[in-house]
Assembly symmetry: C2
Homo-oligomer: 339 residues x 2
């Protein structure tokens, strides 16, 4: 089977690609070809796999060509992140809304031309939820909590959920929208996401670098590890339509955790010296965005697919350390551990 | 003040224009100019008003020019109807989604160029609600019921609600989305809406013509008269932001009525002979669409603005007869009454 992963050069997209290539099958079929699109090329290990082809550039510039190509499955991960979308309204509309619409239309075009209906997993976000004055937000958002996004990013993700549902209803795709929790611990450098610090306060101290937490230790948030998130995307792809139940989006599993608990877990796993590299310095812009996010999420439909969150945050940190230790730059990324 | 009414040549748009011109003020300001856009020109009485200018053609072809023009208020009513959108997917995307996006971007462009933030009322629809297998639909949908549209029309309306909310949050417009109930009794001819028969089973018998009801007499539906609908749009425009409460869409008032009750009211108002011009002949396509609509709606936030539905359907029929009797073609439209 031939797969398309948009955002396939990014952290999560590349990780998903690796997981799929390692499995070599998906939904019972052999994976023969994986096309990765992204604004930057994918990591070298992926480029070295004969099954992989990479296409570099904005997705919106590639969708016309996609009309001439059939895919058995699509993971649509490409997205501008929340902070970018707040700073640049048009970027968000273009990268998140217009690109998704154009991708769906390319797939529709192929099906109308007699192609097979592709299975599509759309990576939505817990950011679709937010408190509207007319709609107070429950502490823990469920699959069927009414979304009222308070960011352009959340708005665009929610709109795309509804496009995916309607293109599915019309038979142009077999679409499923899975709402990702905040993925932590992300490797690399901070990105433009307002949630970036949820990784930074673990990653930087482990690398021996000071990190600033811009919100109160009392802030609670639904998070997921990279591996559980990738597991979730694959399980949502592999589920039958009956298992998915309906066309509305589902929440992926979340570990609902306070910043203070994250830091206690960091001390437990890596020691007091590492924990003490985190300093609290409130950033009103970020704190304001985060205050409008739910403090927890539940995922009943994901549980129905056998998906579970990590049980505690220490396990997530241990997984991050384990992942890093296998990489050539382990001495850098885990420098703080040995200090 | 200068107003724009998209869909201003249509039944509801023209009626809204007449109501506004008759009031001559809106939200405490004098109405000096009303621009009506529609694919067809507005009725002659509106064209004869010195304050009215009409622009004929698709809205999407007019939005570029709108970037050079400031409006104090906008009523965005232009829309392809549900039946059309099901039959022609691209028409719906273009007429409902792309046109709304382009209109909002034209308004945003003006504000970014230093113009005044316009107040915008978007006419959404009760069609945003529907039963998803994962989300059973309550009998009566409230302002905060989770929408799960089961038609492209409902999907596009819901998406536009969220665009209006986000453009409002960003300060590009002062937007309010009001969900219209099925408007009945509509004059004229049946249109492509799946709900067209809710008017046809009253209008045609009163004109002496047989009418076919494509659904069971037990079907219940939230309806509103044209005048209460126009009152609702005006009240939503005039409300302060505090009165509107939040940025999420609100339901306009609904009279929840069964087809059997509509016909009993017809007999009560117009007599047995008129009632007997309605024949039941199930149309699976229409019955299938209607089965996915809510059987009733509540409008708590609209009630907070002082808006109320008609108390019974006989009053709605009497209003229709009264409206018709003032028009030159009364002898045609009410021919059935005298038979």
């Amino acid at each position: 089977m031939k797969l398309l992963i948009t955002g396939g050069g990014g952290f999560l997209g590349a990780r998903l690609a690796r997981a799929l290539l390692a499995r070599s099958t998906l939904a019972g079929e052999k994976i023969t070809s994986v096309v990765l699109t992204d604004i930057a090329p994918p990591p070298a290990d992926l480029l070295g796999d004969a099954r992989v082809s990479a296409r570099t550039g904005p997705l919106l510039a590639q969708t016309d060509a996609l009309r001439d190509e059939s895919f058995d499955g699509v993971f649509h991960l490409a997205s501008a992140v929340s902070g970018e979308c707040e700073a640049d309204f048009e970027l968000g509309l273009r990268s998140n809304l217009d690109s998704t619409r154009a991708l769906l239309d390319a797939l529709r075009f192929r099906v109308n031309a007699g192609g097979k209906v592709p299975r599509v997993v759309f990576s939505s976000s817990v950011a679709v939820f937010g408190p509207d004055p007319a709609l107070p937000l429950p502490k823990v958002v469920a699959d069927d909590t009414l979304p009222a996004p308070q960011t352009s990013y959340g708005t665009q993700k929610l709109i795309c959920e509804h496009l995916v549902a309607d293109y599915t209803r019309k038979g142009y795709i077999d679409g499923r929208s899975a709402r990702l929790m905040t993925v932590t611990v992300r490797p690399g450098r901070p990105n433009g996401a307002a949630s970036s610090f949820f990784s930074g306060i673990i990653r930087e101290p482990l690398a021996g670098v000071e990190s600033i937490c811009p919100v109160s230790p009392e802030v609670s948030h639904p998070v997921s590890s990279p591996s559980r998130t990738v597991d979730g995307l694959i399980a949502v792809f592999e589920a039958s339509r009956e298992q998915i139940v309906g066309r509305s989006a589902l929440n992926l599993p979340a570990l609902n955790v306070r910043v203070s608990e994250m830091l206690a877990a960091l001390e437990q796993v890596a020691g007091k010296a590492v924990r003490e590299r985190v300093r609290f310095e409130r950033d009103e812009r970020i704190a304001g965005i985060v205050a409008n996010w739910p403090s927890g999420a539940s995922g009943a439909r994901a549980a129905g697919l056998g998906l579970k969150p990590h049980e505690n945050f220490a396990d997530i940190i241990r997984q991050y350390i384990d992942d890093c230790s296998k990489l050539p730059n382990a001495s850098e990324t885990l420098k703080g551990l040995s200090k």
